[in-house]
């Protein structure tokens, strides 16, 4: 099953490469997305304990992240055919192949039980998504692709060095190949502390670059701003989730080794910095796609902040991964529609979207309200609980700063969003033939509906999955423990039974 989840999208990518009809190629995307999701759900249904020495396999954390990516891919895949019809002037071959290859590699990353394999998968996702950023083939998209590749490759190189440091930490302690995560966590007390710490810092910087944590996010506004909305959605919720997972894996080793204080301080620091940095650049942001990119920087900050606080906040950080992915997808796709309708993405030109593209305008507005924490949408639950976790967990100052930053970001974003949605139509706007259709809006409505549903109800199996995923991040069920010195390593609890 593990192999099938990886091989199926890759085979579909190969098929998409060979197929000549662009209509058929576009149709393959929703089929592949749906089947991948079904496969994943079947795999979760027949979940088995992970063999200790397996190179590939789903644990709770990997399953949760892959579920998020698979759902998000499905939404994007249903949107893609109608988008590709609008962009019939572009060759869709590379576009479809890259999308499908990304899904396969994300499945590889989620199931990788070895830091080296995870690193290879992360590198490969960077490479296959680069052509997506260059889809528009103009000067700006070229600049964005160059930055994306160069900064991404440097980040990934640092992560490789971090992985090698981790290997040396194990080697120093007498652990030899193969270094599966499970083994590393079981024998975490053997690892050499200075090397492990250095490895974590390098991986945080490396994978943090791929996530887009400030100050390593500089590729992000360009890449998201210059690529189509659907690519932005995939990058902002898919690729970043992959990088976050890779980071959580080594964080898990840190927790098992009792170095949790050191790691948490770094994560909280990076999280706050990202949120603050994003807020500064969100003020008076005239380009609404770049605005979404900075919002993504902010939410990556929220994720690592939550994990850094630990306990309940870490669990809701994992929940926020899903919440953010769903709502970001809505926002990017709606922004893409508005961009298409106005053939511009900057403010004086784009105003009054609610009149020209009513559905996309409303979705953009609701998406904005959802992402900034309006109940009943899912991000409210996660943001509220992360703040609550920080305040009750003894991080009073950090918790208050977190809330202040959220409020500031709401105000900063609302200025841009309200003008885009409600502003008086500008006289110099361009007429384009685009208008909202069912095909370009229904996937967005579904995603927003899902985000609202998650805000009020989480199905029981999903809740259990989330809880187990949180265990592998926190090390144990007990929230807010501060541990000093080595202690028995937690074993990944993968339960066989499902009720």
């Amino acid at each position: 099953m593990a192999l099938l989840l990886i091989a199926f999208p890759l085979l579909m990518a190969l098929a998409a490469f060979l197929v000549d009809s662009s209509r058929l190629r576009a149709r393959m995307l929703p089929v592949a997305g749906t089947l991948h999701l079904v496969l994943l759900l079947v795999a979760l249904r027949h979940w088995d304990a992970l063999p200790a020495g397996a190179w590939l396999g789903l644990d709770a954390l990997g399953a949760w992240v892959l579920l998020v990516i698979s759902v998000l891919f499905c939404i994007c895949a249903f949107y893609a055919p109608s988008y590709l019809v609008l962009r019939a002037d572009r060759d869709s071959r590379i576009f479809c192949v890259s999308l499908l290859a990304f899904l396969g590699l994300a499945s590889l990353l989620a199931q990788a039980r070895h830091p080296g394999v995870a690193w290879v998968a992360m590198e490969a996702t960077t490479l296959v998504t680069a052509p997506l950023v260059y889809f528009n083939r103009n000067r700006h998209s070229l600049e964005a692709t160059w930055k994306y590749l160069l900064i991404g490759s440097v980040g990934i190189a640092l992560a490789l060095l971090g992985t090698l440091f981790l290997a040396y930490a194990a080697h120093f302690g007498g652990l030899e190949e193969p270094l599966h995560y499970t083994r590393l966590m079981e024998h975490a007390d053997l690892l050499s502390r200075p090397w492990l710490r250095a490895a974590f810092v390098l991986c945080l910087v490396g994978y943090g670059t791929k996530m887009g944590l400030a100050p390593l996010h500089t590729w992000k506004p360009d890449a998201y701003g210059e690529s189509p909305g659907i690519v932005g959605a995939l990058l902002a919720s898919g690729v970043t989730s992959c990088a976050f997972l890779a980071l959580l894996r080594i964080y898990g080793v840190m927790v098992a080794a009792g170095e949790v204080r050191f790691a948490q301080e770094l994560l909280v620091g990076f999280g706050m910095l990202s949120m603050a940095w994003a807020m500064v650049f969100l003020v008076r942001q005239m380009d609404f796609k770049r605005m979404l990119a900075y919002s993504s920087v902010e939410h990556m900050g929220i994720l690592v902040f939550g994990v850094g606080i630990g306990g309940v906040a870490a669990r809701f950080a994992l929940f926020h991964l899903a919440a953010n992915a769903l709502v970001k997808t809505v926002l990017f796709l709606a922004a893409g529609n508005i961009h298409r309708s106005y053939s511009s993405k900057t403010l004086p030109q784009v105003t009054g979207a609610i009149r020209r593209t009513p559905v996309s305008g409303w979705l953009f507005l609701l998406g904005f309200l959802a992402i900034t924490g309006l109940p009943p949408f899912a991000p409210f639950i996660s943001e509220f609980n992360i703040a609550a976790g920080a305040i009750t967990g003894g991080h009073l100052l950090a918790g208050v700063a977190f809330l202040v930053l959220l409020a500031g970001i709401f105000i900063a974003m609302s200025e841009t969003v309200l003008q885009v949605v409600f502003g008086t139509p500008s006289p110099q706007r361009v007429r384009t033939p685009y208008s909202d259709t069912v095909a370009t809006t229904a996937p967005l409505v579904a995603a927003l509906g899902l985000a609202a549903l998650l805000g009020v109800w989480l199905p029981r199996p999903m809740f259990k999955l989330l809880e187990q995923a949180a265990v592998s991040v926190n090390g144990s069920m007990a929230p807010m423990e501060v541990r000093v010195g080595p202690r028995p390593a937690p074993v990944l609890t993968v339960e066989v039974s499902h009720d």
């Binding site: 070895h114 490969a124 000067r139 490759s153 080697h171 270094l179």
Partner: protein
């Protein structure tokens, strides 16, 4: 030849690299460094493992021939002025490189090495080379020189990998080779596109997106 000598020569080549003003020469030095790196495992006496010999051959072929070939071809076709036109001057770069090397020695001193390790210079050399690569990446304007910087950064990782290669060959070898080859290959493609779009590989053209 003793491995220490080769490692010292590698560090020396870093200094030459940051002080050079010609793209052509920078590529040449990268070639020299690539070959030096290829020879270090042999000098360390690792030549008895066939898989390490394979890695050495691949390293020398890719770093010493293939990538320089791609870079030189791009250089020939673009007709860019051969002078590197850096954000940070050469003297300052040289001083920063020296500072970085010094810091690498201090940092490496703080990381314990497993008892019986003979090549104690590998870690500081790795960190110093990594730093040089970074310096090139952020202080140079031409896309080509930035790729050379990225190459040097990778060399630093390779140097560190040598510390582990005998004990964890699988992780180190696949990681290093894959990273290097694919990364530069794709950058080669992007450089090609930049060339056709701007008729020059100056990344100053790539500075229109900003807030």
């Amino acid at each position: 030849m003793s491995p220490d000598l080769l490692i010292a020569l590698t560090i020396l080549s870093n200094f030459v690299l940051v002080a050079t003003s010609r793209v052509n020469k920078a590529i040449q030095i990268a070639v020299v460094q690539g070959i030096l790196l290829g020879l270090i495992p042999l000098a360390m006496g690792l030549g008895r493992h066939p898989h390490i010999l394979l890695m050495v051959a691949a390293t020398i072929a890719v770093k010493g021939w293939l990538i320089p070939f791609l870079l030189r071809r791009a250089l020939r076709e673009v007709h860019i002025p051969r002078e590197v036109d850096p954000y940070v001057g050469y003297t300052v770069s040289l001083m920063l490189c020296a500072l970085g090397t010094g810091l690498s020695l201090i940092l490496a001193h703080m990381l314990p090495l497993k008892g019986g390790t003979k090549e104690i210079l590998l870690v500081p050399a790795a960190l110093s080379t990594l730093f040089t690569g970074f310096l090139m990446l952020v202080s140079r304007r031409k896309a080509l020189t930035q790729v050379v910087g990225y190459l040097i950064l990778e060399n630093g990782i390779y140097l560190f990998g040598l510390l582990l290669v005998e004990d964890m060959p699988l992780l180190v070898e696949t990681g290093i080779l894959l990273d290097l080859f694919v990364g530069v290959f794709v950058m080669g493609i992007v450089i090609n596109h930049i060339r056709t779009a701007f008729d020059s590989t100056d990344t100053r053209h790539l500075a229109e997106l900003r807030d």
